[in-house]
Structures are given as structure tokens and as C-alpha cells.
Symmetry: C2
Subunit: 150 residues, 2 copies
Amino acid sequence: MNSTIRAYIAGFLDGDGSIFFQIVRRKDYKRKFQIRTSISFYQKTDNSENLLWFKKILKVGYIRHRKTGISDYTIVEPKEVQRILKLLQPHVRFKKKQVKLGLKILMKLKKVKSNKDFLEACALVDQFKELNYSKKRTVTSEVVKMTLTP
Amino acid sequence: MNSTIRAYIAGFLDGDGSIFFQIVRRKDYKRKFQIRTSISFYQKTDNSENLLWFKKILKVGYIRHRKTGISDYTIVEPKEVQRILKLLQPHVRFKKKQVKLGLKILMKLKKVKSNKDFLEACALVDQFKELNYSKKRTVTSEVVKMTLTP
């Protein structure tokens, strides 16, 4: 993928895209929680055929049409999110901090061997939420800590 | 301006920007109407410092903070809109038709010598509105025609 294509996608992401990390409860998971990630690109559903171009270029992910009239193209596989963040990193301007911290979380997740490692990753997700100005009530690393600490 | 910068701005414009043409009444104008144009880039006001980067690169225009919590960086001078559309044209993907037709309108406007020429430009603005799926009640070329035809 050439650098003008990568710069174009980075510009679109800065304008009308999002990078997302979230801690969700998973009773059946070893560590009781999962760190979920995604990259999304948005368009009005009327123009959602535009999103097919991203899918063709990035080769993964899926397109959803929401009832609000907005469609999104979203990638959730951590390995693919990591690949795409690395591709875009040199070109992203306004979401630079999100990309850097996102890659740090994904690196960390790959090496999780203990609850302590996992908690460290969760603490980075807390930091990430601060960057996104998220005010939604969500699971913080503190909640994970209280659950995992005997 | 190198091509990765231009591609980045084109991506941002396709994601969270707009190109706009509008016919407005101007009693004091020779032809009673003006064709207004603009290019805008949007950000939440919380992140509006990001828009300064566009202003630094494109060197014209101004930044406004709206009460809705959205800020925009907007260029309205037809000569500058034309310059910027030309810069971005090779990289824009989803707004390709808007850029092409916008440049056609701006070229036409430069050569207006008669009411007939002006009406032709107004008819192109009508076409442009179709591209933008604008449903707002605005002045159409038909209204201009009725005003200018004796």
C-alpha cells in the first residue's frame, strides 16, 4: 500500500473515524474480562458504498448499517487492528496519541502471562479512555483488580 | 505541499469535511444574486486546536466555534476554494463528483459576462445540490431566472 493511500486513510480516520478500547466482562474467560478493540470508519448509509473501498484496501473487517442512518466499517481482530495502526501511524495527526497508546496496549496483550500483566494492560485502557474523552460508565482497571485480587 | 499531505487532507475532507455552493439573494448586486462557496473541515470544539494545522498548511480561511460544540475551519474566497480543490482533486475519492463540478462552477463564474452566463452557473449549483443530497429549501436557478428575466 503506497504512502498516499495510507495518508488518505489516516486523514479519514482523523476526520470521521475512531479507535476504541474497552474492558468487558467475560465470565467464561480465564481472567474474567476481555480487552476489546476496534477501528471504525463512518459514512451516512446513503453513501455506505464508499466504505467498500476501505474494505477492499484493508482486506478485513465488516460493514454495518445502523438504524440511525449511519454505517460503519469496523475491524475488531487485535492482530489486524495492530497491523492497520502500524500502517497509519506515520500519517495520523490528530489521533497520534491514541495510535501510540493503542499499539502499546496490543503489544502488552500479546505478552500477558499473569493477572498482573493483564491488570497493567487494563490500566493502559483506562489511559486510552482519557484520550478519547469517554464519559461513558465502563469497566475500569480498578473493577478488574477487585475481581482478580483474592 | 507534498502528495502525502494533500492525500491526508483529501481523506479528512471525505470523512469530516464539506464542499458547499449556494445561491443567495443580494439586492445590491448587479445580478441580484451571489453564488457563495465554501470548503469546511470539522472537529469537536474540545479538539479545535487540530484545525489550526489546516489553517497553517492552507494559509487562508478562518476557524469558528459553534454553540453546538462543533468547530469548523472554513475557506470562502472563490479563488482559494478553487486553488484548494485543484490541490486535492487527485486524492479525493468519495467527493470526486463534487470537486469536479465545483471546479466547473468556479471556472464558469470567472467568465460571467451576461445574465445568461450567470444563469448557467446557477444551473450548475442546482446540480451540485443534488450531489450533496441537500433537502434544504434554497434559491434555485429557477428563482434567479424568474428574477432576471424581464
